[in-house]
Point group: C2
Chain length 285, copies 2
């Protein structure tokens, strides 16, 4: 595996590879790699449309609010490098903050419409930071395709919309949420959880699965579903609910009555200092 810290060096190398006909698959991450990232890396390795796999590790300050956990966000670069090698990645890109945001940096990319709900409402500026860094990473790596986990469902929608709107020449591929045995969605932030909080956090997926089951049984009243989801999570004493929503997919609009197609049930809640998110996509027959 080749590791690059400088944009110019990475670009030179990738231009050579591209000129040799190699098609590039890209997995952008914030590091502290877990089973979810490993699944994305496996997907890029197994993709018949990819000849060269690139993974990036960059904790992007732009997507954290002033009161959020940018400073304490877990980092373990040594371990991450080992994991990237074991996953068979060809290239690792680990830029410093000053390399990505040099003095005088003054440009942003913003997607409206799908960013005013869910995490976009709870974390003002978050998706602007995500859209900006992903645009930069795409322009640096110029991948043929890039992989994102559907655990960050709204992020996936924002990036798909941005790629379409800005005509970015990259294909976005989704990967299902990876879960622990008891259903908890894997996340770098799970490391924040105490033993009791870790046990309590399973309430998210259990509640989402109940909601999905209700929909499959024929429930079509979105407000009733949302209320049920809210009550189930609030019943867990260690959970502090941020939001619980049932929205249309992929345009993330409020719905009264569920119609045919897919709907997204999505939740965010604090367990101690960990803010966790989870979701399920449900097919409405």
């Amino acid at each position: 595996m080749r590791t690059f810290e400088k944009i110019a060096d990475l670009r030179r190398y990738l231009a050579e590879m591209r000129a040799g006909g190699k098609r590039i698959g890209f997995v952008p991450t914030m590091g502290f790699l877990h089973k979810g990232h490993m699944a994305l890396m496996r997907a890029v390795k197994e993709d018949p449309e990819v000849d060269l796999s690139v993974v990036s590790i960059f904790v992007n300050p732009l997507q954290f609010g002033p009161q959020e956990d940018y400073r304490s966000y877990p980092r373990d670069l040594g371990r991450d490098e080992e994991l990237c090698i074991s996953a068979g990645m060809d290239v690792l890109f680990i830029p410093a903050v000053e390399e990505m945001y040099p003095e005088g940096f003054a440009t942003s990319v913003e997607v409206t419409g799908v960013t005013e709900v869910l995490c976009g409402r709870s974390r003002p500026g978050h998706f602007k930071g995500v859209a900006t860094v992903v645009t930069k990473l795409f322009n640096i790596v110029q991948p043929d395709c890039a992989y994102f986990g559907i655990k960050d469902a709204q992020q996936f929608v924002v990036i798909k919309r941005m790629v379409r709107d800005l005509n970015l020449p990259v294909k976005i591929k989704a990967h299902p949420t990876v879960r622990e045995e008891d259903g908890l969605a894997v996340s770098s932030r799970n490391v924040y959880l105490t033993k009791d909080e870790r046990r309590a956090a399973t309430v998210l997926y259990r509640s989402l699965e109940c909601t999905a089951a209700e929909i499959r049984k024929g429930e079509r009243d979105a407000l009733r579903l949302k209320r049920m989801l809210t009550e189930k999570i609030s019943a867990e004493p260690l959970a502090r609910l941020d939001y619980a929503e049932v929205l249309s997919w992929p345009d993330l609009r409020p719905v009264d009555v569920l119609r045919r197609g897919e709907v997204l049930a999505a939740v965010a809640a604090y367990f101690g200092r960990a803010r966790l998110i989870d979701n399920v996509l449900v097919e409405v027959e």
Copy 2:
């Protein structure tokens, strides 16, 4: 010359050319081509770094304010096509508005810092519209280099900053302002001028040249220079001044005392319904 209206068709063709090793030079325009555009097209044809020349014509609604001249902006596609052929362009891209901004379009690119002065102050949202469409065009054409006239000095600065900040893989090349015999900067909007306004409009370049001469003679007081520029233009009864500024280059900051390096003297004024801009870059010894 090959003409494309659809993004997908243009992309397919350019991907083929790129795979064949052709380096792409790009001239984005709003059409109603004049001597300034012809000079840009000549520059791309003569560039030893370019094998394939692409020109686009798209009057971008996003960069016009609600009270501005989007609807009446001069258009003459038949004549423009002839001029592109005569300039030896290889490819012409003329997308419809719905092709560039399909339903649900919701993404924007914004540069701060250099957009709060000059035209950015007079035309809120203008440079956000410019940055967004130029990002789209760059992603569609994926040129190796792109050409912009320095008549739109602030636009040039905004695009350079955006390209650097977003790591867009394109080299930006500037071309000096092209002028009529009497010094008036050529512009598609000059067609709006009556005979008297056309004569009066030469006051812009004459005043800028006086300012440049004063700087060369040793004047270093920016406020005095700005006042002189303002007075000269205001002395013309058919001119309605929008702004007259002397700013640092290329960061467009206000200056008290001119220091070594380049400064930009820039003006905007209405003559009847035509809003015209002009500028000179002056080397301070």
